[in-house]
Amino acid sequence: MAKVPVQFTLNGSEKAEFIESGTTLLNALRDKIGDTSPKGGCHQGTCGACSVIIDGELRLSCLTLAETCNGAAISTTSGLSEGGVLHPLQRAFLDTFATQCGFCTPGMIMAARVLLDHTPNPSREEVVEALSGNICRCTGYEPIIQAVLLAARSNSQNAA
């Protein structure tokens, strides 16, 4: 099958690749570009493990074709830390034991990041709603909810 060019920004860096037409963004990121932070869980749009942020919106990379992302700005969990310092969301997930097997964690963090970008001080209900498309089979969700609330508080304190 003929290959097609794709070009987008991934975590602030320009990326350009030739891919087979119809390749999902998840496969392009993991297999061509080498960013394995988005996980392939159900490939049906149900589990949220592949969640990434495209032009500021949370989307599922397993159901998004890479060539529809030409010119887009894509963010994944691998781009969160800076200079070896964890992002407040990553720190909060560690501090509240919000990750066990860790498979869902990158998707959870992407969903939480979009929430905090738009709603810096969310209510518990808003956190639950924001994470409602992401499934975790380990934690029972409560530590994850607490992690997002903790990250929001820590962001507020840093901003004050």
């Binding site: 119809g22 749009g45 397993c62 529809t68 979009v114 994470l131």
Partner: protein, 264 residues
């Protein structure tokens, strides 16, 4: 499995490409990419159009037109479509709502397609390059439809006339046990003068509860008034059985939730 994607600036050109065997139209990807990921070999190529008209929402003089590529998230946040926000937010989680389109929802098999249930209650029309079709006719013939849906249109309901309810086991978001939408108009004395009730998951696609609609005319929206409506609610239904619920369960709980919707 990778599929060749063809992108066209106009719907007209995309419609031509869609005539090829094995091609499917790509909207938000939540149906056709999922099918490809599941190994559906009947899909061999994808076609899409980037025509800006497909992504437009217009509200003029109480008439609404929503482009087929408009997402559930865009509807939920639109300032003039507050009455529909509940139905739009009923679809999936945040990521799905940023992807799932109005056009795609018309083709979503039960237990999906909650927004199409709302459109059916609103008496929407579905537009293609071939013209407009009443949504009820469109849904009945959708399996054979090849023309790209360009938009849906309907009259904006007055606040309070339109009601929507989705029942799921997982909170806050889950796949539908069933969904119900109702467009009700009441006369000055409080009796129902017009009713359109649509059901999701009570057949393989959204359907009208015509017996319930008929029973509701001239009745008041109180316990006694709706009793015959609830008795007629299941008439003509053929609920699906899936991992979410059995057909028996769906049939049992339909009157319970219809009662809640009508008395809300």
């Amino acid at each position: 499995m990778a599929l060749a994607l063809q992108t066209f600036a106009t719907v007209k050109d995309a419609n031509v490409a869609l005539k090829a065997a094995g091609t499917r139209y790509l909207g938000g990807g939540t149906l056709v990419v999922r099918a490809a990921n599941e190994g559906n070999i009947s899909v061999s190529g994808l076609v899409r159009s980037t025509d800006p008209a497909l992504s437009a929402i217009t509200v003029t003089g109480g008439k609404v037109r929503i482009g087929a590529s408009v997402t559930m998230a865009a509807i939920a946040r639109h300032p003039d479509l507050g009455t529909l926000a509940r139905a739009a937010r009923a679809v999936g989680g945040p990521a799905i709502r940023n992807m799932a389109t109005v056009g795609g929802n018309l083709f979503a098999p039960a237990p999906y397609g909650d927004f199409a249930v709302a459109l059916l209650a609103l008496g929407a029309t579905v537009s293609t390059d071939d013209g407009e079709t009443p949504i009820e006719t469109f849904l009945a013939k959708r399996d054979g439809s090849r023309a790209i849906v360009t938009s849906v249109g309907f009259t904006l309901p007055k606040v309070g006339d339109f009601r929507f309810l989705k029942v799921s086991r997982v909170k806050p978001k889950g796949i539908s046990v069933l969904s119900i939408a109702a467009m009700l108009e009441q006369a000055g004395d409080g009796t129902v003068s017009s009713a359109r009730i649509a059901l999701g998951c009570m057949a393989d696609r959204p359907m009208r509860a015509k017996a319930a609609e008929k029973a509701l005319l001239g009745r008041r929206l109180d316990q006694d008034g709706i009793a015959p409506v609830l008795a007629a609610a299941g008439e003509g239904t053929a609920p699906i059985t899936d991992p979410i619920a059995s057909a028996w369960y769906r049939a049992e709980v339909l009157p319970v939730h219809l009662r809640r919707l009508l008395l809300s």
